[in-house]
Amino acid sequence: MYYLGIDIGSLSCDAVLINGGSTIVASAVVPTGARNREAIARATDEVLRIAGIARADVAAVVSTGYGRDRVEERLSSVTEITCHARGITALLPGTQLLIDIGGQDSKAILLGKEGNVIDFAMNDKCAAGTGRFLEAMARALQVDIDDMADMDIGAEGKQSISSMCTVFAESEVVSLIADGAPVNEIVMGLNRAIAARILSLVKRTTLQYPDMKVAMSGGVARNAGVVRAISFLMDREVSVPKKPDTVGALGAAMIAKEKNASRRPVVSA
């Protein structure tokens, strides 16, 4: 039997399929777009295709992410905070502090030994410093967002971005370009602005972070420059799993397996 986790976020819909031994069999990331039910279907079809199994082979589905209640076939829905915690513990055991930056929110999650959430803090009021923010900045810089990951290399950290309001930061970036500021310095300034914002969430959650094993998940973790900036400000190594954007879906798949087991009657031999 297989277990499916679906994480439907504002930017991407991620699906992870695991088998009865909790091994990842397939994963997929598709853009969410305007119609999230279509994205759910596409991500589901993709993991089934990769695994070479039929829908009937999936014993249980758990959904997470902001669109979690849109997954009609779910056994239950669980928040992304819990799912990312479970997912990262499976991928990077011993993680004590998880930083998750997705399309429209960012979180610092303090973890127990079993991947349980001890405490968490999320961004308030606005989505500055998240995936949407990076998208807007890439647009202002007229570069591909994936190319931004290494554009800070060689910068000395001379340029700070003073505003974290996405609209104001975008015009600030445009002004800096017009003033001839080096692009790598601008990108490093943006990365450090994001890192400073996440550091305040970390500090709200725990002040013990300098002694903790820290990991990062979510789509923004694919941006090595942001990870470097967070690592720099925290003065800690920040570990990133191979597919950071599927961590939440993995956690959901693992919860699906657990919940499926608990709903079945125990039959003694």
Binding site: I81, N116, V117, I118
Partner: protein, 408 residues
């Protein structure tokens, strides 16, 4: 418009009660409707006040008095607050300021606040509220009397505030032409003490495990009941709640939540309609069983010498004084009610809410109670995205489910 609204509300609730559909909440809401009708009647002597004004003393002087934030909450609950807030913003108020006060100012600008005979400001709990009262005093051309509330309960401070309250009585007499009847004052104080005694019983019953209190039962209760103190109606409302809570405990009727988790709500509730409390009860078996301001923090007032008691009461409000005192009060509530978790909405623009949140969080964590900090504008529904708050509350519930029980 407001007079008709409150009249319709009053008649609707009375009809429901006559039809056998009564509950403590209905009696409480009926009294709110009556207060609203009197405020907008055009015939009653009314006074706009700060939250910690001695409303029973004003009631004894025949003045229909109300704290201005009541109007903000009422406009929010009826879903029409946006246009009033915009009106205030047009005058240059910062949109980051407290929406209770912005909505009140907007209501005054749009002619929705009845002209009072006078205003009573209080320096506790916030300077923003006092500023609104000063604005209203200028707008209406009416006199404002300010009660300067000391921060500590010392003999000198009590005397200082009691003397101000005597001056306030003289001020009210000068404006209304009515003298304070000492027999009526004595009766008023006795009624206040009776109501507060019953409220202590209600709160003791709410501490029962499981709690008979559903999330909405005592929403805004403590702060609003202060408006009714001194009258028989406060005694009747409190008695109805006490009897209902006793009945629920005797019948094992603990509502939809079943009491899996017990929450403490810090500061004020979200005043407009939303689905979060229902979600907590129905999906997570969780009830908000106590609010920060649902507590009687003062002793009975001596009917023969009420001013010292009035003064001690105003000084005792947990929002008065240092944050350390407020945190100790929250810890006391958490222990008494065996709270699993606390929610702090940190109302936008409120220094009490946002300024204290780190201290409150750390204080409650010291005794093992986790705190969920939200950033909610509790009045302006236009800033509310329910999905964001659902996620935070749901994650908090999921977290509580993995923790060992704190009190058992």
């Amino acid at each position: 418009m407001m007079k008709e609204y409150f009249t319709d509300l009053e008649e609707g609730i009375q009809g429901a009660i006559r039809g056998g559909n009564s509950s403590p909440k209905k009696f409480y809401t009926l009294e709110l409707a009556r207060l609203g009708r009197r405020l907008y009647s055009g015939t009653d002597a009314i006074a706009w006040c700060g939250i910690t004004a001695p409303f029973d003393l004003l009631n004894a002087m025949g003045v229909t008095s109300c704290f201005v934030e009541f109007i903000g909450a009422m406009l929010a609950s009826t879903g029409v607050v946006g246009s009033f807030i915009e009106e205030t913003d047009h005058t240059g108020y910062s949109s980051d300021a407290c929406s209770y006060h912005r909505s009140v100012s907007g209501a005054a600008i749009k002619g929705m606040m009845p002209v009072p005979e006078f205003l009573i400001g209080t320096t506790n709990p916030c300077s923003g509220g006092l500023a609104v009262l000063e604005n209203l005093a200028c707008r209406f051309g009416k006199e404002l009397f300010v009660l300067h509330i000391p921060q500590n309960d010392s003999a000198g401070n009590v005397r200082f505030l009691a003397d101000q309250m005597r001056e306030m009585v003289a001020f009210v007499s000068r404006i209304t032409g009515r003298k304070l009847d000492n027999d009526l004052l004595r009766k008023t104080v006795e009624n206040s003490n009776r109501a507060c005694g019953i409220m202590r019983e209600i709160f003791a019953l709410a501490r029962h495990v499981p709690s008979p209190a559903a999330s909405r039962d005592l929403s805004n209760f403590g702060i609003v009941m202060a408006l009714f103190l001194g009258g028989e109606q406060a005694v009747a409302i409190a008695g109805a709640y006490r009897d209902e809570f006793r009945r629920r405990i005797d019948a094992g009727d603990y509502g939809k939540s079943g009491g899996k988790f017990r929450l403490l709500w810090i500061q004020n509730r979200i005043q407009f309609r939303h689905g979060l409390e229902k979600m907590l009860e129905e999906e997570y078996g969780t009830s908000i069983i106590v609010d920060e301001l649902n507590d009687i923090t003062w002793d009975d007032i001596d009917p023969e010498n009420p001013y010292d008691g009035f003064a001690r009461r105003s000084i005792s409000i947990p929002f008065n004084g240092t944050m350390a005192r407020r945190v100790e009060h929250l810890k006391k509530l958490a222990r008494e009610y065996r709270i699993d978790g606390a929610v702090n909405p940190c109302n936008w623009g409120c220094r009490q809410g946002t300024g204290a949140r780190g201290l409150i969080e750390n204080g409650l964590k010291e005794i093992g109670v986790p705190v969920l900090n939200l950033e909610v504008d509790c009045v302006d529904s236009r800033k509310f995205t329910e999905g964001q708050f659902r996620t935070r509350l749901e994650a908090f519930m999921e977290m509580l489910a993995t923790r060992p029980p704190l009190w058992r």
